[in-house]
Chain length 213, copies 2
């Protein structure tokens, strides 16, 4: 059995992937850990350590081939596995996230959107027709998506998640204010945009105070 990769490393992987994609798109073919560290504001040592959790992707004296490394990280992240996802909640947040997010280049294909409000059922979001929430059970049983994005009011979060787990959903991206507890065998990413505001508030306060004295 391979040794488990630490959460800190995994959290950094998407950022590496983004930077390599940018480098690739701007036509840069090779990069050293030193140059990448300069661009990303991290140490070169950390980059080499992180990558070597998964294998030796570089070459002494040369650095890393951008295209190769980008592809390897995509594989590590599982971005080419064609995972499918459904979204529950076709309100503002659901619409915006479904429309603005490049799902396919982040590992998922969004195959269904559901809402319980008859007023939005039938409308079109980014090429997907919103279905009635009552149909989600049959849809999941038939199409077997592994992930669900929850953009529902906070009161509904827990019960919706439990229902979907019953249908076989194994992972959630939860946008609602209500935190989804960790559950055995279920993968959860809670997104809290308000937390970023509070962190900004803290950092501004902190600076204000150091400036005052």
């Amino acid at each position: 059995m391979e040794k488990k990769v630490s959460g800190s490393v995994i959290n950094r992987l998407p950022r590496y992937y983004r930077h390599l994609t940018d480098l690739y798109d701007s036509g840069i073919e090779r990069i050293s850990s030193k140059e990448l560290s300069r661009r990303m504001d991290v140490t070169a040592s950390q980059i080499r350590q992180d990558l070597n959790c998964f294998g030796g992707f570089g070459q002494q004296g040369y650095g890393y081939n951008v295209e190769f490394l980008k592809t390897e990280i995509a594989n590590i992240l599982g971005l080419n596995r064609g995972y499918t996802a459904v979204m529950v909640g076709a309100g503002n947040m659901g619409r915006t996230f479904a429309t603005n997010t490049k799902f396919e280049s982040r590992g998922f294909k969004l195959i269904g959107i559901f809402d319980s409000d008859p007023a939005v059922v039938g409308s079109d979001i980014h090429g997907i027709k919103v279905s009635a929430y009552s149909e989600i059970g049959d849809f999941i049983k038939e199409n077997k998506p592994c992930m669900a994005i929850l953009t529902v009011p906070k009161e509904a979060t827990k019960s919706v998640a439990e229902e979907l787990i019953g249908y076989g959903i194994k992972a959630f991206m939860n946008f609602s204010y209500s935190e989804l507890r960790q559950m055995e065998g279920i993968i959860v990413e809670n997104v809290h945009l308000g937390d970023s505001l509070m962190r900004l508030s803290y950092k501004i306060s902190e600076k204000d105070e150091s400036g005052e004295r």
Copy 2:
């Protein structure tokens, strides 16, 4: 000089605040670190260590008074300082974030929204009239907001940020795909919702593989 509080602690503060708010709203008056640790899936030791970076808010044999602790954390986060913010970009993301976010309970008051597209200038978002981007300089000089939320296309991010820094903006919450580099004296929170998708993809892949063997 007080010793600097570590980034790990600061990152956890908003989550403590959310949980205390929930406890308060459900009428719970006191809580022990042990009970809170159970609810939050962290260790009681960590909770006590974290809080004691800022002071002793509890009482031996009793625990913590929920209302008092909530208020103290709000003060630590600087949520009552009435910071003001402007938003640049009145597209989908801007609209949704402006509409769905309880700014005032996260430390900020949103006082202006700006866009360069004449088609959206003049429209109303959550009670705020969208102004022409060309007017933002005068607005900032007059109203002195300290923070700007960027929901602009990635090509525009860097130049907009530089312009706003010129007008005196000191902190950014950046939603665009393009990462804003750390700059001397400027506070930056980059939000990357796509990263959460990639982390989910990684975790699903990881589980798939362990299941296969």
